[in-house]
Symmetry: C2
Subunit: 233 residues, 2 copies
Amino acid sequence: MSYTYKYPRPALAVDCVIFGYDHRLEESDLQILLIERKLVPFKGKWALPGGFVQMNETLDAAAVRELKEETGMEKVYIEQLYTFGALDRDPRGRVLSVAYIALVNLEKHNLKAGTDAEAAEWFSLNKLPALAFDHKIIVKTAVERLRGKVRYQPVGFELLPDEFTFSELQNLYETVLERTFDKRNFRKKIESYGLLIDTGGMRRGKPNRAAKLYRFDSKRYKALEKHGFMFEL
Amino acid sequence: MSYTYKYPRPALAVDCVIFGYDHRLEESDLQILLIERKLVPFKGKWALPGGFVQMNETLDAAAVRELKEETGMEKVYIEQLYTFGALDRDPRGRVLSVAYIALVNLEKHNLKAGTDAEAAEWFSLNKLPALAFDHKIIVKTAVERLRGKVRYQPVGFELLPDEFTFSELQNLYETVLERTFDKRNFRKKIESYGLLIDTGGMRRGKPNRAAKLYRFDSKRYKALEKHGFMFEL
DNA sequence: ATTTATTTGTGTTAATTTTACACTAACTTA
DNA sequence: TAAGTTAGTGTAAAATTAACACAAATAAAT
């Protein structure tokens, strides 16, 4: 079976830059999920998870599907990043890639090994191996976008478990933005938005004072957002 | 001649949301350029300028080409907006659209009439006619992006002539952001960035005090930007 | 049971930034 | 030369941000 068109058409792929974060680690870097390519081109090289868009699925659906197929992960935050269309980005011919960003917490979404006969592995953002295709540029674009976005939209919570402590939240922001915050000022700022719900629970188990657990009030955020409220950090 | 592939491929188009602004008008709205479709589907309806991407051109190049073909405009600011991939967005079949935003000044870039046998016309943003395809959503996305972008990147200057007065700049920002600024505070803020060059010229001709003309120092901006400088309004 | 080591949780003051506000200067037309 | 209109300018109050230190709570070790 084959498909014939009057004019030539580029092939269409989606690629996902999946950011992972583990709040349990002391010095927790941002991580990116890569898969080792088993086929040419770039056989043996690491690449972003992705694949071709099917005719009966939207771009978002294709990204969600690839995410699930290659990592087993579901119900993760995902958003379109940018569409890459350089002429020579794929040696097999003209292939466009609509890139997506996904944000996952490594405790909540643990990687299912080898779901797609391809080895998937997390890499620290600043220890990435050489990447196939133009994926280095895609990752760079994604990191810039994440850094920009995290400051004026509360997407950081997607990288944490549902319940988290203030210092986990602060560590996350410090990791993503590569800067430090004053503990008291950070708390004050976040509290001023009234978007955290005290769950009553405590994070115990470490040999120090237990910390209160909070939950992000996404319903309230959505309501406020409509009336022009702006989160900012 | 025809082209055959093993798997089906969507067609690929670019569409441009061209924002126009005229600093000479008293009550100057933001404008959007639309063309009247001469062919089915949506014959007679207004639509964003656009067309299919050719095999040997990048997405950016396709957007630039369409812009020139349909409006005669060259050397305008252009950037990729978003890729729209709903299954039913084109009744002819699966067509993806990579949308672009362009910013032009209506004095600098005057519309060449009927360059492409299609009537092109400027419409006030808040008086748009019904649009073909999913172009209403594309325009909405573009407006949101422009409003967001204009606040933290100095793209507003693209909508003005090379030399402009402070009140022209202020009017532009007030129009795009749909709010007012205090004249003195606005001036102070902009001046604090040191990104405007006094050209020595004056805007004369109106029955009131002449205003100094300034030019945006894009070289200096690019240099500062690299070292973490942030424009913000 | 007590000590030790470690992280949590909290308030005030100074510095900076943002906002509010009104009059004179300069230009063109009548 | 008078009238009408926009350009250009400074200061004080309010709000926000930044800087800073110690007692309380917990688990582990003694």
